[in-house]
Amino acid sequence: MTSPSLKRSLACLWWVLMAFLYLPLAVVVLFSFNSINSSALFESFSLRWYERLWGNEQIMASLGHSLVLAIISSVIAVVIGTLMGYGLYRYRARRLGWLIVLIYLPIVMPDIVFGISNMTFFVRLSSLTGWLSPGLGTMVLSHVTFQIPFVALIAYSRFLGLDATLFDAAKDLYASPFDRARHFIVPSIKPALVSAFFLSFTLSIDDFVISFFTAGPESSTLPIYIWGAIRKGVTPEINAIASLMIAAVAVAAVISLAFTRSKGSDASR
């Protein structure tokens, strides 16, 4: 159906796209090994910027904040989101339009409005009540908000992939809903739960705008630190820490590929 010449030019376009997508990242990684402080001229290979990272307390603290934030928020989001996905699946015959709108809201909401609405809300709440002053706690709340929809949709699509009669069988087998959850529901969507956790984790680590506006003075994450460093004038350590984050993403990509390979046509993305 497709002529060979069309396919060849499409292949060309593909490789141009790959260059376009990976060149900016490659440049960051390349200059992280630069021996001089320049992002235009590469002199020789060195690891000095990586060595400087370990000594930088601010970077280490931000890294800690990023990880704590990502882990705590992902755990909460996986629990709440899976429950939600399950409810969406069991009662998909009913009119759940309002729920669908609610789920899409955090996905489509512009980050900046999301972040600023949370900031003003938390600032107001803390001035009224004394709780929820901006910091890691409020950041967890905000992150869970944008993670829930992704988890719910992943769980939902995994449930759709299951044989619907299994649910009736499980109902006959296990009397209590908790037994059903423990012996049937959770085991049968385990791969989806793992990928939902990883996705939530990545979303949290990746997020800049919402974190930026909900962060307190003592809770800056890695992206916030990098942002600040770029604005103040680039230091080459930024290349090094950014390269480590790119490496982490590459590892996540390989894991995700291994998962899709082993699961065949897994319903989750």
């Binding site: 159906m1 292949a11 376009l13 593909w14 796209l17 997508l21 060149l23 900016p24 990242l25 440049v27 960051v28 992002s39 235009a40 709440i80 429950l83 409810g87 069991r90 669908i100 709108v101 609610l102 899409y104 809201l105 955090p106 489509v108 909401m109 512009p110 980050d111 900046i112 409005v113 600023i116 609405s117 949370n118 003003t120 938390f122 709340l141 869970v144 908000t145 829930i148 929809p149 719910a152 949709l153 699509s157 809903p177 990746d206 800049f208 705008v209 506006f213 992206p223 990098i226 942002w227 770029i230 930024i238 950014a242 790119i246 993403v249 590459a250 990509a253 995700s256 590929l257 993305r269």
Partner: protein, 306 residues
């Protein structure tokens, strides 16, 4: 008479189901309402307040913020804000159009490749968007800065003045937007191409349609749901982009997201920032509405989106 117990048990079952539905979905729904819907309403309500002396919103209720958004300030009308709005719209339209032009053939190409290669190819398209957007913008800053190969090339072609870089510029902003949102277009388009019914194309060819005509009547309509989903997924977040114009625009080609942020970051004028946020929210809700409406009409499901 004998219907009574039956009816009651149906009602009981219905009640149990509703309780179960609420038990499972309420925690998530409650969370989103509490930490997104309420804050947004609070923010939006601020747009109708007056800007207080200390940058804090206060009574009375006015439309001042909206008048200011339209360009009416202390010194009469000025077009600055309208430029920002138009620039946001223009950047969104250009970036979305270019993303479509790139993603459409790419999505088609992926479906041409071997089944076993496709997940890897999709992953390769998506992986850059997993890295932090600040880092991505930083990568482009490095690539497009003065005295880099790309900037030198542009200089020798006479596209930019000597000793200038391709960054900061509105060109860099467009590039950054395309880079950020390309995967959002490739994924739904790929889903549409994968489901493509090729017998229609054969039928069109059998009826002596030219390749172009065959594409137009047999392929394009089938990919339309994916295309529309992609356009909404790209255009809505592109319109509200904050990081890319801030870093790659170098403070000169700001978009509405930056306008909002500057009103809050400096604490200068919250009602004004809230009015601009309201505008962005309206655009967002319109986007969701369109997506659902078009998705339903085109018969595509929600699965196109994720």
């Amino acid at each position: 008479m004998s219907k009574r117990p039956f009816e009651r048990s149906v009602r009981q079952l219905r009640f149990r189901e509703t309780r179960h539905l609420l038990l499972t979905t309420l925690p998530g729904a409650f969370w989103i309402v509490l930490f997104l819907v309420l804050p947004s309403l609070y923010l939006v309500s601020m747009a109708f307040l007056t800007n207080g002396t200390y940058g804090q919103p206060s009574l009375p209720l006015t439309f001042d913020a909206f008048r200011q958004l339209a360009g009416f300030g202390f010194l009469g009308w000025s077009p600055g804000n309208l430029y920002t709005l138009l620039r946001s719209l223009w950047q969104t339209v250009v970036a979305t159009a270019l993303v479509v032009v790139i993603a459409y053939p790419i999505a088609y190409y992926i479906t041409l490749c071997r089944q076993s290669l496709r997940p890897i190819m999709l992953l390769l398209v998506v992986v850059p968007s997993w890295t932090n957007q600040v880092i991505r913008a930083f990568g482009w800053m490095n690539l497009l800065a003065p005295d880099t190969p790309l900037s030198n090339l542009a200089q020798s072609l006479g596209l930019i003045a000597p000793h200038m870089g391709l960054f900061p510029s509105s060109f860099a902003v467009t590039l950054g937007l395309i880079y950020n949102f390309l995967p959002f277009m490739v994924l739904p388009l790929y889903a549409a191409f994968e489901k493509l019914d090729t017998t229609l194309v054969e039928a069109a060819r059998d009826l002596y349609a030219s390749p172009l005509k065959a594409f137009w009547v047999a392929v394009f309509p089938q990919t339309l749901p994916g295309l529309l989903a992609g356009i909404v997924l790209v255009a809505v977040p592109a319109f509200g982009m904050y990081v890319v114009p801030e870093l790659l625009g170098g403070g000169r080609s700001l978009m509405i997201g930056n306008l909002v942020a500057s009103q809050f970051a400096g604490g200068s004028n919250w009602p004004y920032g809230a009015a601009a946020s309201l505008l962005m929210l309206v655009a967002t809700l319109l986007g969701i509405f369109l997506l659902r409406r078009l998705g339903r009409r085109a018969g595509g499901g929600e699965e196109v989106v994720i």
